[in-house]
Symmetry: D2
Subunit: 275 residues, 4 copies
């Protein structure tokens, strides 16, 4: 490696970037097994009931994250710190929410990261919104459009649970009628009619900005790709991500029998300026 | 939406979060079409030669990102701002690099985002390292282990091109012999023998911390999952992500004929504390 | 086309290869919709009850195959002639049966067709046995091994329903202990331990004969492929067939949401003679 | 098993259903390895040249099928009896031919087997035609339509090589203008515009007969399914078969890196009679 500035200057270091203990009102994932886990708030004096017995929250306060605890029936749970993936899967919902696999590829193909300014529609239950806010922290911002105000209430609860609400503006507006923001880095669409928002997305994006649209049907993809082409977007592409779970066990490893066959297609493009 | 604090306070706003114009020494993606694009440095007085004619960099300086430009043969290119995806695909390499699809799922299942402290091995050509650094910005940090110092030189070039080198410590050490850091949020392994690093990863992680391992073969997955189980990790899972490109065109839409059938399996888990 | 012997000599012809009408004691597929159909025997004087009302068999006798009929509640059913696919799906079972997708590829990679002599194990509920018999008709024969005699009873019922029992010998023997037949065209294995049968399969096959093995786990595949190699088989290969249903409807076409992610791997090879 | 008529009456038997030795003018598959094999005619006095040396046909005549032979450079080949799969893959072609995976599922969903009468269009290079003929032997028949007579010449060569030409009528006619045959068991379409042939297919099929159409694009599928519905077909379905090769080796088993991502969709249905 020679003498460049990245060499390993401090070999033995203890990083303390995060609080390590559980406090009152933290959201915690009580993990039982691959099929059962619960995203709960640690409320003083309360207990949580499961089919494997109840757990008392007071016994968790002050303990380290990752600590095991035992239910009244002696069954072990583990108190985990929820990750983005948990907030997505455990989101309160009234609609189909997006899967982590699709969200992470939308983030990648949207070029979205810390500091990005992103316009999104529709908010829905806020699963994708939560993820976008998580990745644009701490200086970026998400402007999320939704015409159905009842969904905004649900989304707000989910955003607050993941503690990302301060990076978001929820807007009760129809994105197919226009986008208020200008010079944003990315526009992300999860709409029944994404093509109607594309001319507005073109105006809202900075030069070279990214657009990503998620749609379950091929007909939506074809219309979206067609309108992207008409609107001076380049590098237009579409893919789907098929996630295949494996059942891993010594001597009997195999792909899982049941599988989600399809969630949706991701279509992406970048804004070229007019000639 | 009622009166909650997220309501839309400032409807018409122009965000100016990023520089909009191309400057000398910027890295730019010269986009010709889906199959041909070039990640180049805008060097004053120089030109770039392609099979479609040459382009003069001076004509780009001061222009807006996303601007079209024409080669000496009159062919249009677009000057795009490179995204993480471009830095990954265009990385100088001596080894197989990881695909954006796998990288984005590793980031998601590693619970990695702004502020995360992540241990990674091996650095290789730095494609995954670049992505990890990109997502932990600005306060997080990546500690990347690699035993082959010649790879570190390549990785450093790739990291500098993506301007993320200041978020990384490259370490010329063997992770299967130990990890210096403690209390990190995540450990990411892309090694021939990930199982050898797992006991060290357990020590390095904070309680509830995430581990993610990427391996092409099933035998590696089986060994890794077995050692994770022995080392008090929970929520152990394995999947692969199959990305299927679509050829979208009105009247002749279909999945693409050729496809990458397999890159590797992602195995993930979380650290539970000892009883 | 010139003058070769295949030219179209008799342009307008009516082929009458099959009986066109439904007779007493025929097996018929009563088709309601994609999700509901019933494989039933047309018994004189009897009726068939469904949640959409009952159907009287007497009204079917003498009618043409494909005829619509109406239940007591006025719901339309269609009386279809069952195909091999129906006999497979509707087979009485006590075990997991094989899917048509895997069966048809086993037949193809086994080189099996009219006149083939095939050894099979184990019989199970007879789904694969039925298919093998169907394809080797009328001069071929299937020798099907099964150690659990209770399965043979079920298999026999299923074979009789499909009217292929006369092309089969059910053998209550353990194929891992030996194969009686010699010079067969193909050996097809659907066993927990196929590798134990491979040396016997080598002896039973004619030179250049085909072996095909179906196994759900990778560990079975690895052992099977290894033993094939040791036993002078060549052209050894393994694949899986992933069948993806499409939901086709104008304006909302897409792959189906739910999907069988995995059934098993097909491993095939051919017998080379010893040097 | 009790006393049913299928019991194992003759335990030790030698089946001699097929000629075991290679004769002059046989078609033989000279197998070198998974990537290289050659479908050749054993011509007396001639030799066959490969990059691994030449092979003399005379040394094969009278030898058993499956026999190893050595090239002039001492490299081992195996003389295999070609199967349907070889005739498909090695077919002379001017067009894209169908893959064995799709062919075997078309045969299954077409309900096609020994004795079936099948109408097919277009003949193309005859790969699917060869397979249909192979499975309908010895009493069935395939009526294959093709408007381009130059393809018929190629198809005829391929059919003769597989020795199935006597089960086929090649017809130099446009199936979208009409089908001569009546009461056939199945109609199989591999056409650019399958929907134009569907009303004719309805007339040609016996009641309850099967139709199967193979198309690469989704747009073809949507049109085909729509016209099937209008024409009193039931049990209409569409799927695609994704075949994934495995690289099997002790300690390094994994799916193959490269894969055919898409060949086409199979749409099937059955004829219901008019009310």
């Amino acid at each position: 490696m020679g003498t460049h500035s990245l060499k390993d200057k401090s070999p033995n270091k203890t990083i303390m970037p995060k609080r390590q203990t559980i406090q009152e009102n933290d959201n915690i994932l009580l993990y039982l097994n691959k099929k059962r886990s619960y995203l709960v708030k640690v409320e003083k004096g309360k207990s949580f009931h499961t089919h494997k017995g109840y757990l008392q929250f007071d016994s968790l306060i002050g303990k380290k994250l990752g600590t095991p605890l035992f239910s009244s029936l002696g069954v072990e749970f583990v108190a985990l710190k929820p990750t983005l993936r948990d907030f997505i899967f455990k989101a309160q919902r009234k609609t189909q929410i997006m899967y982590p696999k699709d969200i992470s590829l939308i983030v990648m193909f949207g070029g979205i990261g810390p500091g990005s300014h992103v316009v999104e529609a529709g908010t829905g239950a806020g699963a994708l919104t939560t993820a976008l806010a998580f990745y644009v922290k701490p200086k970026g911002r998400v402007y999320s459009y939704e015409i159905r105000s009842e969904f905004q209430e649900i989304a707000l609860k989910n955003l607050k649970k993941a503690k990302v609400e301060s990076f978001i503006e929820l807007k009760n507006k129809d994105i197919t009628l226009g986008i208020d923001e200008k010079n944003v880095d990315a526009v992300v669409l999860d709409l029944a009619t994404p093509w109607l928002a594309i001319p507005h997305a073109y105006s809202a994006l900075m030069g070279s900005g990214n657009i990503v649209s998620f749609s379950p049907t091929i007909d939506q993809v074809v219309k979206t790709a067609g309108v992207l082409k008409e609107n001076r977007f380049v590098d237009i592409g579409t893919f789907e991500c098929i996630m295949r779970g494996m059942q891993v066990a010594f001597g009997k490893t195999r792909p899982q029998t049941l599988m989600t066959g399809h969630t949706g297609y991701v279509t992406y493009a970048r804004k070229a300026l007019k000639k």
